[in-house]
């Protein structure tokens, strides 16, 4: 039992450490919309930089690269206004896995 627990917890630890950093997210955003300063931009939705089609495409990239499930409940403007907000969403989804 201890062995299984250790194995499970080390697998969880591995999963946690495997989560790519925000730099991966920014490179995904930059390949989608070149020329935008995603490091500093904080109104991606309000400034119409990202639209619903971009968000869908981004959601699929996030699922592929970060191995989290993005549900319709997460698709709210607050979660996509900045790279930080998007990454916080990813961390939250990862913790909920």
């Amino acid at each position: 039992m201890l062995f299984h627990k250790k194995e499970a917890s080390s697998k969880n630890a591995e999963a946690e450490t495997e989560l790519p950093g925000i730099s991966r997210l920014i490179s995904i955003l930059e390949s989608m919309k070149p020329g935008v300063d995603f490091t500093n931009e904080i109104s991606l939705i309000d400034s119409h930089i990202l639209d619903s089609v971009d968000i869908m495409s981004l959601a699929m990239d996030i699922e592929e690269h970060f191995h989290v499930e993005v549900t319709p409940l997460e698709i709210v403007p607050e979660n996509f206004q900045s790279a930080n907000a998007i990454y916080e969403m990813i961390l939250r989804l990862n913790a909920a896995r």
């Binding site: 119409h48 699929m60 993005v70 698709i75």
Partner: protein, 510 residues
């Protein structure tokens, strides 16, 4: 009963307001409920039987889903889909059955001389296109766990039938409106005056601008074979402005009516003609419909398991850009097909929706090719000239779409588009023929002035100006001069009386 009639403005609304503020706070929702039923009876000619049926279906289904909780996901899903099927089944029956029958009969007639589907004499329940989407949004939100089901039937019923928005929207979300309509609001001088100002502005747009433009538009569209070139272009342009003035005017009257009771309806238009792309246009035009289709069709479909599998399949087999484009485009097809169908049971509306689908999906597909062209030509993307070009381009696309929307049929619309390029001449502006198109010189002057005022107000609002607040802060004589100008312009310049015909609200027919 329409929102721009004397019966509504001088009798129904004042009586409802008086009663609302006389009744104790916690019973005020009953006044709104009773008035909404009365409004429905006067507008529809019958009690809201099907509205009640839809309300009951959704209310019960939502409570049952809550009771099932997180353990029985499959049962919840079946309940959700079963209820949505019933809900949309009613809409389909009333709105699309005859369209479906006619087309099936046409097909059967060509294949064989077999039996035909009946064409029924159906009266479309008032507001069914709006309240069905509203009900569906509530049910889907509850199923997603966004908020719990409402146990209070009175509150939910009022959310569904609240009279300012039942006829033409906006399509309200439960978490935005549900509590607002139910909780009694104390009397507020600002809400009463603010609401009346908004109603006045809506009436100005509807009666001074929209109904006047309608005279020119009707002349061309009802006898389109007699017109070409500039006339058709002008009619398409005026129809675009007419529809905006009328629909946004109706939204102002609805929002103003709601504000009188301390209730805030969602914004449905936000200076749409300043849009630089089609995407942006549909985020500013009929916002509640666009956001409904985005949240419940586009996101719902795109994030579903089958579509995620489609996306994974595409990423393995197609080049990177196509792999992202393909599944999104499939979801977009459903959105725009839905948009077209929602507007009406006609091939022209379906074509209208697919017109935007084609342009948007083509734009997304070709974006990597065209994205860098302005830079290569030394044109700044955020420069005035480029932004101006984008706005003109977007507006042109919208005007063509509106021509198709207004035309009697799809075939007529396409012919009218081509007729713009036949015998195009600006001499019609100087040879006096433009004054024989339903609007005389005075009408055109009033119309032009109205359009300029509407554009200026929209532009100032877009720049963050609170026009009503700024007018309220002016010295009393100036303030009241503006208000009285508004009132008299509606009374004197409104397109009614001898020589004018009362025009129904266009979106009430959807």
């Amino acid at each position: 009963m329409s929102y721009s009639t004397g019966l509504y403005l001088l009798c129904f609304l004042p009586c409802t307001t008086l009663l609302y503020y006389l009744i104790p706070l916690r019973f005020r929702f009953l006044v709104l409920l009773a008035s909404s039923f009365l409004f429905y009876l006067l507008g529809n000619g019958s009690l809201p039987f099907f509205l009640l049926l839809s309300t009951l279906i959704v209310y019960s289904a939502a409570l049952l889903m809550n009771r099932l909780g997180g353990r029985e996901k499959k049962k919840k899903k079946r309940l959700l889909w079963g209820s949505l099927l019933l809900l949309f089944g009613l809409l389909f029956f009333f709105k699309y059955f005859n369209f479906f029958s006619r087309n099936v009969n046409l097909l059967l007639g060509r294949l064989s001389s077999g039996g035909k589907l009946p064409i029924l004499s159906l009266l479309l329940p008032m507001g069914i296109s709006f309240y069905t989407l509203q009900a569906a949004s509530y049910l889907i939100d509850v199923s997603r766990g966004k908020y719990p089901a409402d146990r209070n039937f009175g509150r939910f019923l009022l959310y569904m039938c609240f009279f300012p928005h039942i006829m033409e929207g906006p399509i309200a979300r439960y978490d935005q409106l549900g509590t607002q309509v139910y909780e009694g609001h104390p009397f507020s001088y600002e809400n009463i005056t603010g609401g009346l100002q908004l109603i006045l502005w809506g009436l100005f747009k509807k009666l001074v601008i929209a109904d006047r433009a309608n005279m020119f538009v009707n002349t061309v569209f009802e006898s389109w074979q007699n017109y070409h070139g500039f006339y058709v272009l002008a009619a398409a342009l005026l129809y675009t402005l007419q529809l905006y003035a009328e629909f946004s005017g109706c939204m102002d009257i609805a929002a103003g009516s709601a504000q009188i009771f301390g209730i805030q309806l969602a914004e449905n238009f936000r200076h749409p003609f300043s849009s630089r792309s089609i995407n942006e246009f549909w985020q500013r035009w009929h916002i509640s419909l666009g956001s409904w289709l985005r949240d419940y069709v586009f996101y719902g479909v795109s994030l579903s398991r089958p579509f995620k599998r489609l996306s994974q399949w595409a990423r393995k087999r197609l080049p990177a850009h196509l792999a992202k484009w393909f599944p999104v485009t499939c979801a977009l097809f459903l959105v725009w097909f839905g948009n077209g169908m929602w507007h009406g049971a006609s091939w022209k509306y379906i074509f209208y929706g697919l017109y935007y689908f084609f342009l948007l999906s083509l734009g997304t597909l070709l974006d990597p090719l065209f994205r860098n062209i302005p830079g290569r030509l030394g044109i700044g993307k955020n420069g005035r000239a480029y932004r101006g070009f984008q706005r003109i381009r977007t507006f042109s696309i919208v005007v063509i779409g509106m021509l198709l929307f207004r035309a009697a049929s799809l075939k007529t619309g396409i012919k009218m588009v081509f007729s713009i390029f036949r015998g195009f001449s600006l001499s019609v502006l100087t040879d006096g023929s433009i004054l024989r198109m339903g609007c005389d010189g005075a009408d055109l002057i009033v119309l032009s002035a109205g359009l300029i005022i509407m554009a200026a107000a929209g532009h100032l609002k877009e720049r963050g100006k609170n026009l009503r607040g700024e007018i309220a802060a002016l010295p009393l004589p100036v303030r009241w001069a503006i208000y009285y100008s508004g009132i008299f312009s509606v009374l004197i310049l409104g397109a009614y009386g001898t020589g004018y015909a009362a025009v129904d609200f266009i979106y009430a027919h959807f």
